[in-house]
């Protein structure tokens, strides 16, 4: 062949052509798959919300846990979409759709102070009684942590909670995901704040304390900070 493959010109042209082709191809694939990925993210969010009220699918005599398959159906059954609201830090309602608010993104945005953030509130119905689901987001030791807290219809007692994390240490901070940790929140009152303690008194229900995780102090404190900071706004709203 006449082309000198070792020449600078050829090398440059090859590199440029490669980058253009690969770039265009990847962009096309990314755009093409975006709708499917968004759908999955949305379902995941619905699963997390439902986990706070511990929703189960009852199919004859079987009770099935929440999964990607039944999340949409359960969400429709339990969540009263028309009653969900978004409030501001002043406790006033804002004209936004609760499900569309991305509180993780707002939390990351350093230019947005905590009082300018939107606070969505989901309203659910379980066995005829209303539950209020509050999303929370904060910082653990290594990265973001988040969760959902469901409050009973007295707007005071915690009915259920669920937490998740991105990169906490497995076996230590990552344990906030485990049942033994988040079920401690059930029965606590939201207006007095909830403390993370080390003396084992967190097992008692209703004393405003939960046991932190041994070896996961910073994550436990992160959960404490996240829960109390967020609940304050909702307490203000619930009191009207």
């Amino acid at each position: 062949m006449a082309i000198n493959k070792d020449s600078n010109g050829y090398t440059f042209i090859f590199a440029i052509a490669l980058v253009v082709v690969v770039g265009a191809g990847l962009a096309a694939i990314s755009i093409g798959l975006k709708p499917f990925q968004d759908k999955n993210v949305e379902i995941k969010k619905k699963m997390d919300i439902l986990a706070a009220i511990n929703a189960k699918e009852i199919n004859g005599s079987d009770t099935l846990d929440i999964s990607r398959k039944n999340a949409e159906k359960l969400y429709e059954k339990h969540i009263l979409v028309d009653e969900c609201v978004v409030i501001g830090s002043d406790g006033k309602e804002r004209d936004l759709e609760a499900f569309d608010v991305d509180i993780k993104k707002q939390y990351r945005d350093k230019n947005l102070s905590w009082c300018d953030r939107d606070y969505p509130l989901y309203v659910a119905e379980v066995d005829g009684a209303k539950k209020y689901i509050i999303p929370v987001v904060g910082s653990g030791l290594w990265g973001p942590i988040w969760g959902y807290i469901a409050v009973d219809d007295d707007k005071e007692t915690i009915y259920g909670a669920t937490f998740d994390h991105k990169t906490e240490t497995p076996g230590l901070g990552a344990e906030i995901k485990q049942e033994f940790y988040y079920t401690q929140y059930v029965g606590e009152k939201i207006s007095g704040g909830i403390k993370s303690v080390k003396d084992g008194t967190g097992k008692e229900v209703g004393n405003g304390k939960v046991d932190g995780i041994t070896g996961g102090t910073i994550t436990s404190k992160g959960v404490e900070e996240m829960v109390n900071r967020t609940l304050e706004v909702y307490v203000k709203y619930f009191k009207g």
Binding site: D6, F14, G25, L33, Q37
Partner: protein
């Protein structure tokens, strides 16, 4: 143009081509003989399902990559060939990641970091550089299949052992009863070995496999 006499066309599954597939399974296994791809063998062999998904992803990346590199082998300027190989692996990995996220979100969540790590799987760059740069697409594909299967066999062997004795499960089904409620074997004092779940154990497991393999096949033992 060329004055070379064309060699008679090789049959698709000639002896040489078959050897490309069979050799990496045992005599030239990428994990136990070449000791490549160990990082991922440590990380994802906790459950069988993850090992299989990883093998599938590597099969796609290595198969497609080997063919692409092989087709381009006469065009790639040798001075930037490593970069070109890297671009090919990286884009294939991005495709795998995007497809998993769109259609298998649960698996994507579990594998999140490791899919990206395919790029650093030495087997892939190793095969590109050592084989695909010098061979036609078809043998390259066979070479990719052979090496991935050789890699996958080791992954599955290690993960079967780790899942059964580390978490008491096989393909996600519990084998010995409920650990938390203490039923089945757990009621008579059986315990899962937590060490088996940790990454260092995979290294022991791979070491034991290497030992068994060389004891059985003495021609693999290097002389010193």
């Amino acid at each position: 143009m060329s004055e070379k006499v064309k060699a008679p066309k090789e049959p698709l599954f000639s002896k040489k081509n078959k050897r490309l597939v069979v050799e990496p399974l045992d005599d030239n296994n990428p994990v136990t003989i070449q000791v490549l791809g160990i990082c991922s063998a440590l990380a994802i062999t906790v459950s069988i399902e993850q090992a299989l998904v990883m093998t599938g992803s590597v099969l796609f990346v290595l198969g497609a990559g080997n063919m692409i590199i092989s087709m381009l082998r006469n065009l790639i300027p040798s001075r930037i060939r490593i970069i070109v190989q890297l671009v090919v692996v990286a884009s294939l990995v991005i495709i795998v990641n995007e497809v998993l996220k769109a259609f298998m979100p649960d698996v994507a969540e579990k594998l999140s970091v490791f899919v990206g790590l395919i790029i650093t799987n030495c087997i892939i760059m190793g095969r590109f550089e050592a084989f695909a740069m010098a061979n036609k697409p078809w043998p390259s594909l066979l070479d990719a299949i052979g090496n991935t299967v050789g890699y996958g066999v080791i992954l599955v062997l290690v993960s079967v052992f780790r899942e059964i004795f580390g978490s008491g499960k096989f393909f996600g089904m519990t084998l010995f009863g409920d650990r938390i409620e203490g039923t089945g074997a757990y009621s008579v004092g059986y315990m899962d070995n937590n060490f088996i779940i940790l990454a260092p154990f995979a290294l022991f497991a791979v070491g034991i496999i290497i030992w068994i393999q060389r004891a059985r096949n003495t021609k693999l033992i290097e002389e010193h």
